[in-house]
């Protein structure tokens, strides 16, 4: 595996299956009375959040703490960033504090890549969502949830599974990461969205595109509903919310036409009544809550595989310091 996790497209099929299998073991630890493992003792992980997020930050924090890492939470609000500090200076500060891993969420696409390749820091960089680019750990936890529900076998991928992703593809880093990862794992991905909410160049992605949800629904093993990102909607992408909900929202009637074992997924937070009705959101076929729980296992797996061994630590100049922490 690489030293950083920036894009789901960087993962080979073997990498992805290894992460899913490792997460499966991590999930077993969650049932124990003592949920803590000593594996990352003495390592420091910084949660660098330039954009608001509750579930992702908490999930990363829980994962790091269960592996006994020291966690430093950094949010842009109320920090020196609001005083105008650049990403570079923030990174140099973190490096001086000895961060072994940096989890970064940033509003601008490419910020994690910049951080990882600039030489500003020596630790591993994990992308926790950057602009409209990627959110690889979300895709991994989605794939983990699908494998558990649809395949139920460790060591397996998602070969031949038909996954439909519905909604605001244009602004969605979750969709982008999922398309890459799911196709790597052998699934057939179909994107369903109004033409205005599809990005330019979508025809070169390893997936199919449809404008008709009803036609695709009956041939889907999993339907992933994306949140309509009101905060990014500064242009008119569809006439009214009611029209969007009618054409691209998932209600009980549509769900009934899905194959019997098919699941409904949502990365959260949900807009009930917009892309998903309360009836669907609360049904046992909806895996939204399960996805949150699986997120901790996946993030533990990623942190263990990136930081648990010697490779990232030994590629640094100051190996003496990490050995001291042993």
């Amino acid at each position: 595996m690489k030293r950083h996790l920036i894009s789901a497209a960087d993962l080979t099929r073997d990498d992805a299956v290894l992460i899913l299998d490792t997460a499966e073991e991590m999930a077993r630890f969650a049932d124990r009375p003592i949920k803590k493992l000593p594996t990352l003792r003495g390592r420091t992980i910084v949660n660098l959040f330039f954009e608001d997020s509750t579930r992702t930050r908490i999930s990363f924090e829980a994962a790091a703490k269960r592996l006994s890492a020291d966690v430093i939470n950094f949010s842009a609000k109320g920090s020196s960033v609001s005083k105008g500090e650049s990403l570079k200076d923030t990174a140099l500060t973190l490096e001086a504090m000895g961060a072994d891993g940096v989890v970064i969420r940033h509003g601008d696409s490419g910020a994690p890549h910049r951080l990882a390749t600039s030489g500003w820091i020596g630790g591993s960089v994990i992308n926790a969502g950057d602009g409209t680019h990627e959110h690889p750990t979300q895709a991994l936890l989605d794939a983990f949830t699908m494998r558990r529900r649809l395949v139920g076998e460790e060591g397996a991928a998602l070969d031949g599974k038909r996954i439909t992703i519905v909604g605001d593809i244009l602004h969605s880093r979750v969709a982008r990461s999922n398309v890459h990862l799911l196709s790597t794992l052998g699934a057939h991905v179909t994107l369903v969205a109004p033409p205005t909410l599809l990005p330019i160049g979508v025809d070169s992605w390893p997936c199919e595109v449809s404008y008709d949800l009803d036609a695709v629904l009956t041939k889907s093993d999993a339907v992933m509903m994306l949140r309509v990102q009101r905060e990014r909607m500064n242009a008119a992408f569809f006439p009214t919310e009611r029209e969007y909900a009618r054409r691209y929202g998932l209600d009980g009637e549509r769900m009934a036409r899905m194959p019997e074992d098919a699941i409904v997924m949502h990365p959260g937070p949900m807009n009930r009544g917009m892309e998903i009705t309360a009836e669907v959101a609360d049904s046992p076929r909806c895996t939204a809550v399960e996805q949150v729980a699986n997120g901790v296992s996946i993030r533990m797996a990623v942190m263990y595989l990136l930081l648990g061994g010697s490779e990232p630590a030994l590629s640094r100049d100051d190996t003496a310091r990490t050995e001291e922490n042993n």
């Binding site: 000593p38 595989l305 010697s310």
Partner: protein, 219 residues
Amino acid sequence: MDDNSANLHPARPVLEAPDIKRVLTRIAHEIVERAKGADDVVLLGIPTRGVFLARRLAAKLEEITGSAIPVGSLDITMYRDDLRLGPARALAHTEIPADGVDGRLVVLVDDVLYSGRTIRAALDALGDIGRPRAVQLAVLVDRGHRELPIRADYVGKNLPTSQRETVKVQLTEEDGHDGVLLGVRSTESAAHTEGPEDTGDTEDTGDAAPSRHGTAPAG
């Protein structure tokens, strides 16, 4: 996957299939004798080969006592003290029997006892799962060269070795046939042939010297 080192440097068999069978039968009887009936015994094998040995022992114990013995596996990867000396390792299964380990006599089962570091890690892992009444250790081969104050309660065969030698346990479930091979390591680099499922004690001969400096006891 580690077999190529054995093929390149002719290895001498020290235990054959019938020997292993006899040895496991004896250990099973010793467990029953010491535990006065094995009523509260839980067998936990250390992956990979310790798990198969634990299952075989459980079958023998059931033959002897007439009642089923809970058997599981305990992966120690996350508790190793040499994690930072190599790339992150793939994890193996941990499966604790449904009734847990609290108040029971846990017998850890492994193939080779060498530095003792694997068992140290296993004791730490066990401490996070529950509080057994007592913990004992059963191994197929004890090859000496302990680096920690740890000893086995049940030993299949004491095998005096030099640190340049390798001990390779082969079991039908994993390798297609039963046997224990004693070979000689030719170069230092051969020390790094271990696969991700390696349990540590079987193959980490050459790692021992540098790891003593780089690894503070994690326990």
